[in-house]
Symmetry: none
Subunit: 368 residues, 2 copies
Amino acid sequence: MIREQEQGANALPLNNILAGDCIEIMNSLPAGSVDLIFADPPYNLQLRGDLHRPDNSKVDAVDNDWDQFSSFKAYDDFTREWMAAARRLLKPNGAIWVIGSYHNVFRMGAELQNQGFWILNDVVWRKSNPMPNFRGKRLTNAHETLIWASKQEASKYTFNYEALKALNEGVQMRSDWVLPICTGHERLKDEAGDKAHPTQKPESLLHRVLLGTTNPGDVILDPFFGTGTTGAVAKMLGREFIGIEREEAYRKVAKKRIDAVRKFDKEALQVSQSKRAEPRVAFGVLVERGLLRPGEELVSINGRHTAKVRADGSIVGRDMKGSIHQVGAHMEGAPSCNGWTYWHFKRDGQTVPIDLLRQQIRAEMREQ
Amino acid sequence: MIREQEQGANALPLNNILAGDCIEIMNSLPAGSVDLIFADPPYNLQLRGDLHRPDNSKVDAVDNDWDQFSSFKAYDDFTREWMAAARRLLKPNGAIWVIGSYHNVFRMGAELQNQGFWILNDVVWRKSNPMPNFRGKRLTNAHETLIWASKQEASKYTFNYEALKALNEGVQMRSDWVLPICTGHERLKDEAGDKAHPTQKPESLLHRVLLGTTNPGDVILDPFFGTGTTGAVAKMLGREFIGIEREEAYRKVAKKRIDAVRKFDKEALQVSQSKRAEPRVAFGVLVERGLLRPGEELVSINGRHTAKVRADGSIVGRDMKGSIHQVGAHMEGAPSCNGWTYWHFKRDGQTVPIDLLRQQIRAEMREQ
DNA sequence: CTTACCCGTGAATCAGTAA
DNA sequence: GTTACTGATTCACGGGTAA
């Protein structure tokens, strides 16, 4: 058996990038031979016109042919096919990760369930540095969603609980991961110096996925290999990979990149540590959480000025409205003012600085 | 028309909790009459068993020949029905929020898209104090997902950008919201002292939703009302609500809760306004009123270009004449330009943006 | 050599009104 | 419905250059 798998016609082409359509290629590989699949398929963004930043520069949007689908039906057909091919390749105890945005992730999640995959977690990648919403028409799209699912409900999937706990400063890893997007030297460039791929994923993300849900020596398949982040991190971590990629330009960049990777590079093991900054608390959050009521009166530390709280966290003084800091500075004729210590409120006859409420919120946040 | 809506058979039962099945009741209400729907439907945590409605009646699966997926089918049928009924009730510019976990949110998101809703954002409610994963077999399930969608792609949905920005310490609100789960005094108890509802949502969550995507006076429908968080926050914020709930016990708790809510006073409900809401002022008016003289020179913000004001409110640059916006865009070779902030004039040795003069005019208009 | 400043850029379903 | 015009709108970083 093992000999066949290693040497026969059906041998797994380990640590290679296969050229071609991922559905065809997956269907040509031996069933039940892969431990983990990581899939980052086209998102079907459905972008309309151009978008400019406030400084008039144009956003370099994802307008590649591979992201164009004629309808939801066409996208669903595509999803059903690649997912079925992927599921066939998985060992009985295998698992899959998919990543997407609101454009496609709901359709992928539903199809995973339809095909009998068993969802273990949905994971939110919270981007520490997302692109802002330039027109102010929506919320900043600051996250993407991953779904982790086993081949079937009965699968004894791999989960390295302690490793992830260690990675998370000794407390259980949660379903929301704060990681920066891929920029700087990690972002691969083409010969012209432009980004080699429009949607390169950060290695920190794959590091966490592979560390947490595979063992050394496991076989990891990425059917939408792109510039090979999955392969690069798999190699670092001593896992085997199989990549499938249609576009020659991407394959070329990926091969060069992976060839340069050294196994068990200790520095690489540290890239995924996210920094923990002191959380910023907006004054509006006190209102939102009911610690202060809209309409409630604030008094200045010297008792000379008052202001009223509004529902959105701005405040209104005698002749001005704005943030707690702005209004405080205005009242005192000062260039700046720390509103947290300047403004007080009354509870049970006591006058208390609003900073006390901020400390309360911070304590809650630390509890996790 | 108005009389009919207020007093006729089709009158909207504002600020009431309606008893019964939400699909039937929604179908009995007048179409196109609701501004926002907030839906927190059953999460269907036991997808592999029978599916039950909130009243514990069993949902019949239409297609039983594929037993493994029949329960998904039943959940999808249920989702399709209530969502279609909800969509019918929305005004053309209306919008919907749904909330769920990985058990059901993918199916809801896909169905929203299938029915022609237009997804605006998916939002992650990151729980600051989730329940840990006791068995250590998965990641701590520390978030839930909300989807915000307009009735159709062309809808001019409500988004109070500035208010949410104020709520977030002056930077635009992101798609991930850190909020604690509902505990303590806010968590409603029944007579026995147990929690009155298993999945009561925190008021802070609804505060952000309603402040950000409705205006005072808007009609908000919650078809899975439960203990009435939507109604309580709607009342606080000066919005109208309609609740639908099958279970008498929940309706009773909700009514008592909402009756005790005090509306915030009007001034507190004024939120930060977008500049887009300000009245338009034609540049020519500045000339007309003598704030700028025909022949006066304007200088671009970077000091590189000049233009001359003409009596009709057009301006002339080196090789082009037109509006302040057209000439500015031409000078910079940009697709567009906000002439109000681009062009400056000189007074007493100072260089001042012409937008300052527009603000003067607007102030005069407000006094009038 | 260090610090300060400027510039570039990222999976984006990104406008509203009047004629 | 279409066209034309007005005019509102950005956060976190990394890298490079200037001081």
